[in-house]
Amino acid sequence: MTAGVSIELKGIAKTYAGGVQALKPTDLAVARGETLVFLGPSGCGKTTCLRLIAGLEMPDPNGSLSFDGEDVTRTEIEDRNVGMVFQSYALFPNMSVAENIGYGLKVRKIAPAERDRRVREMLALCGIEALSERAIDQLSGGQRQRVALARAVAIRPRVLLLDEPLTALDAALRERLRGELDQLLRSLGITSIYVTHDQAEAMALGDRIVVMRQGAIAQIGAPRDIYFRPASRFVAEFVGAANVLSGEVRDGSLHLEGGKLALAGTGVGHDRSLMVMLRPESIRLIAPDQAVWRGRISAVSFLGDRQRVTVTGAAAQPVTVEPGNDLELAIGDLVGLDPAPGSLVVIPKETDSA
């Protein structure tokens, strides 16, 4: 099918009537066929950014937006040819499933026979052939989500824009549809922009993730980059559980309350104090006498597939560790902490000021 277009934002910003700047001037390039995910807490500007690309909002003067080099900054949404999936789905209650999917084709004055053929194709693609004549209020949440997606894709849009399309569903269904959606987006190969506040969703779907904070981009990168090499403390903590530790640097080691961490290979120069990040699953628990970094267990929660252990005394704040589920641990045990090689990430201080 269509491969979609590349998208380029240059200095795009949005200030609302009340003077609130929802999006600071932003530059961003999206490659043809790429799935880009905007991730961030509510109010970070991710939905504003999506709505600007869709044409549902107009950007402040001076910015420019282009699809495949064609300037669409002032083009109305009706003429942008973008497919949009809303969090509430926005399905038309006065139309059947097939009529909803065919609406965009009808507006484009496509002949009824061709329209029927493409509606059937969409119904098949989304696995909802049996629902074709149903009314919208007779559909479950998951079925509505599929219809909304089919309706957006039916017009063969240049870009597919998805605004938290799975948020309204319960957890189990959300996970299943996430898999389906991922397959569908890959098979269509269409340029997609996906907004979510759920980091697992972002990791699973995105070719690249744009982490946003307070109307600005905090970091752009592939899921692994964002997770393993966060550019700031905010990103580190938003995309997963993180232990952020501060200490003094002496003799090539970071000195903490419960011992020291070797800094070899992190490329750290001669800073006197340092902030580092360690993911809970990258710390191994070992016998205290073999360790150079120790603490005492203050809480253990068994989660089935793993366990979450809180260790105090190792650093200024309690350290969270997620060892395998076969380890027998008790509150009060003295344990040694052993970070996996290369798992220590230095967090630049200056980007943490915000």
């Binding site: 549902l56 926005a90 038309f92 609406y103 484009r108």
Partner: protein, 265 residues
């Protein structure tokens, strides 16, 4: 037995109240088909008076229906877009506009009519036509249409539905006809029945605005009460009752269908 006493009391009270309301209406309708009311039913039943009413007042009945339909048309053309604008752009301005629009309901109809006469009295052709009465009825019934439609539109997320349609390429007029009007339909239906019923029964304003050549049904009623024999006035009431009853029942059914729809998730 003792437990039945409150029930019997309540039943009697209800029946008494109903009689208090219904008996005079029944008496009046009966009078309309009685040969000589002063001699009672024994004088015999007749349709003579109804035929007489038709001969004397058929034009008022047709005029009332025409005025009601024109009023409905005007309130639909003005009221639906206005209600939509109120729902989509809730601001201080629209709230003030809503208040101003509702004002004629609180001000006595006579005062509104007087103001209209002062303002438009000079436009002789307009003032002498039935359209002058239509204008008065629109002022009086518009808030009912706007309120009914706005209430229905507020219950759906019309803004997002429209954004969905816009993303599929539909322009504003097309979105209004394809998405907004169907979404507002229950409110449009309820509002329409309300407007027609109010227009057919309206007396205050109409009495001030009418000319001898633009009498409506209620004005004709007042005229017949004042100048005709009791049997004719009663037969006239019967005709009015027969006209207005189906509208009132339809209004109840529409209201129930609406309530049922809102109860669904």
């Amino acid at each position: 037995m003792r437990r039945r006493l409150p029930f019997m009391l309540a039943l009697s009270l209800t029946l008494l109240t109903a009689m208090f309301l219904v008996v005079p209406a029944l008496m009046s309708m009966l009078a309309g088909v009685t040969s000589v009311y002063a001699r009672g039913i024994s004088s015999g039943l007749t349709t003579e008076w109804i035929i007489e009413v038709w001969r004397l007042y058929a034009d008022t009945i047709w005029r009332s229906i025409l005025i009601a339909l024109l009023t409905l048309l005007a309130t639909l053309l003005i009221g639906v877009p206005v209600a939509y604008a109120f729902v989509v752009n809730p601001s201080r301005f629209t709230r003030i506009l809503d208040e101003i629009m509702t004002l004629p309901l609180a001000v006595p109809g006579l005062a509104v009519a007087l103001a209209m006469l002062q303002l438009y009295g000079g436009f002789t052709d307009f003032r002498r036509s039935s359209l002058f009465i239509v204008a008065g009825h629109v002022v009086f019934t518009l808030p009912f249409m706007v309120r009914a439609v706005a209430a229905t539109l507020s219950a759906v997320d019309i803004r997002t539905l429209e954004e969905g349609a816009a993303s599929l390429g539909a322009r504003p007029l097309r979105r209004f006809l394809d998405i907004v009007v169907p979404a507002a339909m229950p409110g449009i239906l309820a509002g329409s029945l309300m407007v027609v019923t109010l227009s057919i029964g309206e007396f205050n304003l109409t009495w001030m605005l009418h000319t001898p050549l633009t009498k409506t049904l209620p004005v004709g009623l007042a005229d017949s009460y004042a100048s005709m024999r009791l049997e004719i006035a009663s037969a006239y009431t019967l005709v009015f009752f027969i006209m207005i009853m189906p509208l009132l029942i339809a209004m109840q059914i529409a209201a129930r269908a609406n309530a049922g729809k809102e109860a669904l998730p």
